[in-house]
């Protein structure tokens, strides 16, 4: 069904350095994204035409999401948020290729991305308010709420990573069950829903929640 990440080989022959299929497909998708980005941004013109329009449309759409939530710093966070959008969207879509598991169907990938967002949000909060001012903000509005605020802060990366992981794995399990019950062409339209629609929506949601966490830490 969904056996989780499979160990393909071991790095340098050491048993504590496993190389899973998630790692390999993740790196392949990174290389494909780099090639695609190089192709889209080669030969830039002041009056955009053709492929440059696609790139500008995407960048402007991401910027319009960031700017209302983190005012005045849309261009600063654009590379980070756009990278999350592109990588997760591409990883979800690569699961459409038969026999290729999606890298986001592995908790290691999603938890890693969520931890990066967690670190960035706390770093930005500390830079905005100073270290002591940021620590004091956990004791708001009364000091007794300090443990509650800390637990709530630690729950953020967990729910952030499990949301993406649960959605992708759940969709994969449902499609596998229907393939076993009704093989043939019947489950094919379901890929449009579970892989295309849910995959792209979850990439958007992961990026938007990342923006929201950064914005909450900064104010």
């Amino acid at each position: 069904m969904n056996p989780g990440p499979q160990t393909i080989t071991h790095l340098f022959g050491k048993s504590y350095l496993p190389v899973t299929d998630t790692l390999i497909i993740g790196w392949v998708s990174v290389i494909l994204i780099i090639i695609l980005a190089k192709y889209l941004t080669s030969d830039l013109k002041l009056r955009p035409e053709g492929k440059q329009n696609i790139a500008e449309l995407f960048i402007t759409a991401v910027y319009d999401q960031i700017e209302p939530m983190i005012e005045g710093e849309g261009w600063k966070f654009l590379p980070f948020i756009a990278t999350i959008f592109i990588y997760i969207g591409f990883s979800n879509l690569i699961g459409l290729v038969p026999g290729v598991p999606s890298p986001t169907a592995d908790l290691n990938t999603t938890l890693g991305l969520a931890l990066v967002v967690f670190l960035v949000s706390h770093f930005e909060g500390m830079r905005d308010k100073g270290i002591w001012g940021y620590i004091k903000s956990f004791g708001q509005p009364v000091i007794f709420l300090l443990p509650l605020n800390v637990v709530g802060e630690l729950a953020k990366p967990i729910s952030h990573s499990f949301r993406l992981f649960g959605n992708i794995v759940g969709g994969g399990i449902i499609i596998t069950l229907i393939y076993q019950a009704a093989p043939g062409l019947i489950p094919v339209p379901l890929h449009a829903w579970f892989d295309l629609f849910i995959g792209l929506i979850q990439a958007l949601i992961f990026g938007m929640v990342a923006i929201a966490y950064i914005a909450v830490a900064k104010q």
Partner: protein
């Protein structure tokens, strides 16, 4: 007192964990109701103020994401119970 063999105990644990996974998914009712309520309110908000559509949709999505977390937790627990 009935004595069970280890194989029978293994089987009981497996079947009970599958039933528990089904029960855990009852938690999907709550987020469904909550997210539908938020979407309904957002729809009436867009009808009243069509020019504020972007801000309303963004706020609605964020609220739905937060309230949908409980459903995701139950799904993950169900997956864990089935494959444990």
């Amino acid at each position: 007192m009935i004595e069970f063999s280890p194989g029978t105990i293994e089987m009981i644990i497996r079947s009970v964990s599958v039933i528990a996974a089904g029960l855990a998914l009852i938690a999907g009712v709550g987020p469904g109701i909550g997210m539908g309520y938020a979407a309904g309110k957002a729809t009436s908000g867009v009808r009243r103020q069509p020019e504020a559509r972007g801000a309303i949709v963004t706020t609605m999505l964020l609220g739905q994401i937060i309230s949908g977390s409980t459903g995701i937790y139950s799904l993950v627990i169900a997956i864990y119970l089935v494959f444990a």
